[in-house]
Homo-oligomer: 296 residues x 4
């Protein structure tokens, strides 16, 4: 998909129509949000522009907010079944595989969508790029128990996340709000007091129904990976496991160990809760002991 990217400075100086044409799709099926901030230009930063749009929604009143919410597609809609779905929604849901659900998963999403719509009268909205399938299902269950006003606020908060990501991609300029997270690691060999180089590191997402390998790499001379295990995007809320192959590492170094070695593949399982955060998950290991922690 080609995406048009505009400069904030150009938007600040553009005709009203050009401005609205450029940003009308940021809020799903709601070009009026862009219209309402035209007069507040110029915006010093992309974050200011987004804040103004969010505040325009907040000021628009319950009826219009409900319209905005109702303008979103249902989660897990198969392409072709939700005609009003924007290009942006298609891309976002596609990234998680929500357009390639199995029949059983599709049924489960349909069931939750129906229960949710019956309770609240609008579709379940969540910023899918900040979630794994598991955390979406967990949020679905949790939010179904909300009172309606609380849930409207939750939906608007998610719309804030969705549009922040869209705006950051659609507009270039200073002061972009932070939307990326980062997962990194390093391995320290406590026998030699040095970074452990050449340790195989495998990152998987652990879902209720499946595990998928997200990264396979090895530590470099610094005991780190050349690139973050995840970066350049929001981290998806969910459960992960890093497998550190330290048995092979110590064997290659000739460090004597038992047969089989007490520690071979060390799994570190953890959850990510802050999509825009930095999670540093190191391993300090000898052939007989290790520790880990959330670092920064």
């Amino acid at each position: 998909m080609t995406r048009m990217v505009t400069d904030l400075s150009a938007l600040n100086g553009a005709e009203r129509g050009t401005f609205v044409a450029a940003l009308g799709g940021i809020f799903e099926n709601a070009p009026w949000v862009a219209e309402r901030v035209v007069a507040s230009r110029p915006f010093a930063t992309v974050a200011d522009l987004h804040r103004a749009m969010v505040e325009a929604v907040a000021a628009s009143g319950e009826a219009q907010q409900l319209d905005l919410i109702r303008g979103h597609p249902e989660l897990g809609s198969k392409v072709g079944q939700a005609p009003a779905m924007t290009i942006e929604s298609r891309s976002e849901q596609g990234g998680l595989g929500l357009d390639r659900l199995s029949e059983a998963e599709f049924a489960r999403f349909n069931e939750l969508n129906a229960a949710y719509r019956a309770r609240f009268g609008f579709p379940f909205i969540i910023c899918v790029r900040r979630h794994t399938r598991d955390s979406i299902l967990a949020e679905f269950a949790r939010r179904l128990a909300n009172a309606p006003p609380q849930e409207r606020a939750a939906a608007l908060e998610e719309i804030g996340y969705i549009t922040r990501l869209r705006l950051v991609e659609a507009v270039d300029g200073p002061g972009k709000p932070k939307t990326d997270g980062r997962l990194s690691t390093h391995v320290l060999d406590t026998v030699s007091g040095k970074p452990a180089a050449g340790v195989r590191v495998i990152l998987t997402e652990r879902g209720a129904s499946a595990e998928s390998v997200l990264a396979q790499t090895a530590t470099n001379a610094d005991g780190r990976t050349d690139a973050p295990l995840i970066g350049g995007a929001p981290l998806r809320i969910g459960t992960y496991e890093i497998a550190f192959h330290i048995g092979a590492y110590f064997a290659a170094k000739g460090v004597t160990a038992a047969r089989p070695p007490f520690l071979d593949v060390v799994p570190i399982r953890f959850a990510i809760a802050e999509p825009e955060g930095h999670y540093h998950v190191p391993l300090l290991a000898s052939p007989w002991s290790y520790s880990t922690y959330r670092g920064s």
Copy 2:
């Protein structure tokens, strides 16, 4: 199965025939081993008795050792297919499920048995009560590469383990050789500086083809389990995982954490290499960090 247990003192004073009848089955189809130590009585300890029997085998020469080795059943023989299999062998192999192999596993064992017999001219002997299926297969592969004299020594060493276990169960008396191992754990809550009570702990054996739950329990007020996770028998060489449910523990204590919690189920994966050893595998944990080590 009822097992006759005799006192060492009774054996020391028994008629030759009684002695041989009692201990004739310790060495598989080789009552001559018992016969050769009759004259060395009295034995001060059960360990002395076993040592004498092992030395009688060592002194018997290559031909008789080969006869002894050949008197053992093939591993994984289905009951009914190995008519000369002693009651003891049946019981030992049954404990590991070797008499309930799937067709594929049976085929794999048959193949290894055939390759082994072709190479060495005798059946593969291993003290199955010290092994998991995985470690048996690993040993099979490793020992297939041995030179014949080295492999005869390996077979005799395994016969030593097998008969030591049999003797310890057949004879009561002082100075029993150590045949039991122990796996224990404890959980320390580093936020409160106290033992973590009520932490769910699940021990699984991790095999190539399957995982099986060996123990499900919870820590007591001391942060330990009321009984060892494994005890009262040799530990089986193999890979294990203890899952510590510390997310639920900290949630119940009201320790604030992320949603989802950074650490929920902490898996500690390790191998046991010494069946008669004590493996203490503790967890020191906060909601954001933990460490483990092989303790004692």
Copy 3:
């Protein structure tokens, strides 16, 4: 000093006069406490006897409690200056060296005693066997800020600790209340995954004015010390440091390290707050890393 020890069963059956003679000195200059519990005999446990005496004090009313409190000597009184001091008080204060204070320390204690007496009208009472000089001074300062009723309660609580210790030493029998604490350690070598044997361990008390060595020993084959570092008595509230000589240990094992080694003498500094508690302070160490925690 010879101490008369009586059996609880003998006390339960003794003449009233014998009972009071035996226990009249437990509460300082207050044989009436023993008198009041005579009629409550028999006591099933030593703890029950102590509890009854403490309750007799609690029931005696403010005036008599103040008499009891005033019957105690001032802390740091030089022998010969406090004629009514019981043998027990002399022994207890002597253990901490309070009868061997320097002139400056004596002056400091006198000053605090005077300020305390001016504020509360009775001497400062503290169970010295549960304290170091430093923690006594800290408690002095803290308790000077108490309101009078709060401070009377604090004094009675300390009398409870003092008399519990005296009773445990004066009376033999079942159900002795716990008065002993324990400080223990162990050292684990994370390079070899084994207990570290032969590590020199030195325990010092760290006071504001001086440090004193309380124990010098070495770890045994289990990585522990043959005897607890402190045991058989209450632990004194205060600050301690254990120095673990792991540099020499790893050098002797031939584990390569830097020159000078990164870690040589590892000091672990900690405070004890619960005199009757068990403090286990282990060290898990490689030549380049270590961890410690309060265990149990």
Copy 4:
């Protein structure tokens, strides 16, 4: 002291006399070293220039090397007592306080200098900027046991360190050899899983005769110190201690702890052996446990 700094490019193009005038003092009282490398110009890097000078010394033969060695002042010479001491030597020895030795220390250095000179016939040379007083005394003792050829090599190695530092300060240009080390720390709060901000951190050098505070600071929002604890110079080989005031930190955060807190000031004692290395010495702490390691 004003120091003349010259550009490498200027030196590469300078007259022979200018070149020798600029670099004649790099090797103590030995302008001939500079003379011998004139013809090897141009040097691409400062490191190349230094290497060439060191090789000129290596190629000069034992007699001239001994002259070079003998041209150095004795360590600990009081200013005014060693007339041939260069400005550079005065500055270097002054940094360690070797020109302000107490009478006892001066006597000790004199004694060692005399023993050394008697054994080898030349003064003891050591790059003082890479050492503490303690490590100088340790090296003195260690090197006194060397055989003469080994010790000549040791002296030349130290001259290499001395001149590398001098050259890096005298000449600007690309490819400077690494002469600086760095000591850094960070503190992680394992209760909250976040960097510990505002922890007081005090670094001391621990000498045999005295301790001196090298840095007093506090951790920033990242749990690090704004500047390295030591940086911008070689680290001095020796023993150090960082005191982390985590008791006050946790008290300020309202984390409940004992009175007195189990951990208050945590001392981490370690040695530096590589003056040009990076020593990262972090603390991961809860109120009841901590760990540290040499990181990078």
